[in-house]
């Protein structure tokens, strides 16, 4: 199958300084990719530039598409969790169907099924008529993920989707993502929780100072050397029957 996202030599500069420096990778259907790296490594910039939301050099297959085609190809979940008006949860999730609705059309049976499925995946069945702004921060985050899921795009791009969720919701969200990948879609999500990233992602991209310094299966890239160099962490990675287990021990000074 053809790649869902193809990035070649993508560079974003802030003034002279490159924030993303010649990033090159492709994402194929079936992959659940974790984008990891310390604060300021350029993860958000990379994702936004890949979508064509900011000016960049190099090539991104998504940025080359028309706005409408891109919205059908990739759903984007920004880090800032914005819900401007006290709308009902169901209506908010319905916004994810916008790219599929011709102008002036109302959501049909297919849209309603997508919305119900997205709500169910995020454990939000029963929340439909609650006001989104009156929910807790973690619940709002789940509603916004459901919105992106309702878009039913082949690729889901999420910027720190699990930050601020309770542990069960974090795991449930990543399980949802890896299920999406198993269904033939693909996910790329920036993450800070390395143990969860190692456990649920099929592939990890490590970013450091704007560059992609490692790209591969979690057990191959999460080496003790890489952890010390990029994350300044003293840590151990155990290979277990449940996948690699990451255990931080201290900070490298």
């Amino acid at each position: 199958m053809s790649a869902l996202l193809e990035i070649r030599d993508l560079t974003v500069r802030r003034g002279e300084c490159p924030v993303v420096d010649h990033a090159t990778f492709t994402i194929a259907p079936g992959e659940c990719v974790g984008l990891i790296g310390p604060n300021g490594a350029g993860k958000t910039t990379l994702l936004r530039a890949a979508l064509g939301l900011m000016s960049h050099e190099g090539r991104s297959s998504l940025a080359a598409l028309s706005a409408r085609a891109r919205a059908r190809q990739a759903a984007w979940l920004p880090q800032a969790r914005e819900i401007a008006w006290p709308v009902e949860v169901e209506r908010l999730v319905t916004l994810g169907r916008l790219p599929h609705l011709p102008w002036g059309h109302r959501p049909g049976a297919v849209d309603r099924a997508a919305i119900a499925a997205a709500l169910a995946r995020m454990g939000l069945t029963g929340f439909e008529s609650r006001r989104a702004t009156e929910l807790s921060g973690g619940e709002q985050a789940r509603v916004l993920i459901a919105r992106a899921l309702a878009q039913e795009s082949p690729l889901l791009m999420a910027d720190e989707p699990i930050a601020g969720l309770d542990p069960a919701a974090q795991i449930a969200t990543l399980e949802t993502f890896s299920n999406l990948a198993r269904e033939g879609r693909a996910v790329i999500a920036s993450l800070h929780d390395l143990s969860l990233a190692a456990r649920y992602c099929s592939r990890l991209l490590i970013m450091d100072k704007g560059r992609i310094v490692a790209d591969g299966r979690p057990e191959d890239v999460l080496t003790e050397d890489a952890l010390a160099r990029v994350f300044h962490l003293r840590a151990r990675v155990h290979a277990t029957a449940d996948g690699p287990l990451f255990q931080p021990l201290g900070v490298v000074t």
Partner: protein, 341 residues
């Protein structure tokens, strides 16, 4: 299943009980505005006078005084309500109002210059035309100031700068005015009114206003998407640059035309969307057309109040609107505060 209740979402046209209620209210106030006035004319005679039949005095009153006044009140109100809803939706801020981008200030400046230079006296439509021109010019200045990719914050700041400049220049014109009559005329004009207008003003304002409405009413989809923030909306296929351009052009055309023919009428664009938001499920697209209907109804009602409360003192519409709007707004703030705690 719960899913069956869904299809109201993303609807674009007036529908459901809210649309019907607002339309009925508007119709009622429109009729009242035609039937209530200084000259008592029975309803039947008034309606036949509208189509040119009956007593010539009645025909004159209906067709040359009440009809233009009523039409203008409805046009102005709808423009202000619609623009207010669009601005609030775009800026995602319930305190936004059409005046925020400086359009009304600039339109007022144009009118003041027309009055002061005597242009308005020399040529009857000079005032609304100059006023409209200034409103349109504002869009260019705003786009220059805010840049091609500027976010909503830059737009607000640019709007505040333009407003302040227009206000300062208006004050300068008043300050330097050698003629106390012109000064008085300017001051009264700035209070806003739809009284003593002719069909000429309606014909001048209507095409521009309708163009503005057409632009603003297409924004529903983009404004709905903006509920999720600028980044998410753009990734869903909404072109923010185009949206902003249409918004500015739409607000400038409709509010510019409204200010040109009726002077400055405040609070409608702020209060009407605020009042109707809870009734529309807070959906920006639904709020657009309902605020247009609600704004028209509110200004018609205020203009009726002007005629009924002090019929012989020429109470100004803008003054009454502020007197109604400010306490209403205070009440809304109080309610919001209570809900918040």
């Amino acid at each position: 299943m719960k899913v069956a209740a869904l299809p109201r979402t993303l609807g674009l046209g007036p529908s459901g009980p809210l649309g019907l209620c607002l339309a009925a209210l508007l119709l009622l106030l429109f009729a009242a505005s035609l039937l209530i006035g200084y000259t008592a004319i029975p309803a039947g005679k008034a309606l036949s006078a509208l189509i040119g039949a009956g007593d010539s005095l009645h025909v004159m009153v209906m067709r040359e005084i009440r009809l233009p006044r009523t039409l203008l009140a409805a046009l102005v109100g709808a423009s202000l309500g619609l623009s207010g809803a669009a601005m609030q939706g775009y800026l995602r801020n319930p305190l936004a109002e059409p005046g925020l981008v400086g359009v009304s200030g600039a339109a007022a400046l144009g009118a003041v210059i027309a009055l002061q230079t005597g242009l308005a006296a020399a040529f009857a439509q000079a005032l609304p035309l100059l006023s409209l021109l200034f409103a349109m010019g504002t869009v260019g200045v705003l786009l220059l100031l805010a840049g091609p990719r500027g976010g909503s914050l830059t737009l607000i700041l640019a709007g505040i700068a333009v407003s302040a400049l227009a206000g300062a220049l208006t004050a300068l014109v008043l300050n330097l005015s050698p003629n106390p009559y012109a000064t008085a005329e300017i001051v009264f004009w700035m209070m806003g009114s739809v009284a003593d207008r002719s069909m000429d003003e309606v014909w001048l304002a209507a095409p521009v206003t309708l163009l503005g409405w057409a632009l603003l009413l297409t924004l529903g989809r983009g404004l709905d998407a903006l509920t999720l923030g600028e980044d998410a909306a753009e990734a869903m296929g909404v072109s923010l640059g185009r949206l902003r351009l249409m918004l500015l052009a739409g607000v400038a055309a409709s509010v510019g035309a409204a200010t040109a023919v009726a002077g400055a009428v405040g609070f409608v664009g702020l209060v009407v969307p605020h009042l109707l938001r809870p009734l529309t499920g807070a959906r920006p697209s639904t709020l657009l057309w309902s605020s247009a209907l609600g704004g028209a109804a509110m200004v018609l009602a205020a203009d009726l109040a002007v005629r009924l409360i002090l019929p012989d003192r020429d109470l100004k519409l803008g003054v009454v609107m502020a007197l109604i709007g400010a306490p209403l707004f205070l009440h809304l703030i109080y309610k919001t505060r209570r809900q918040g705690s």
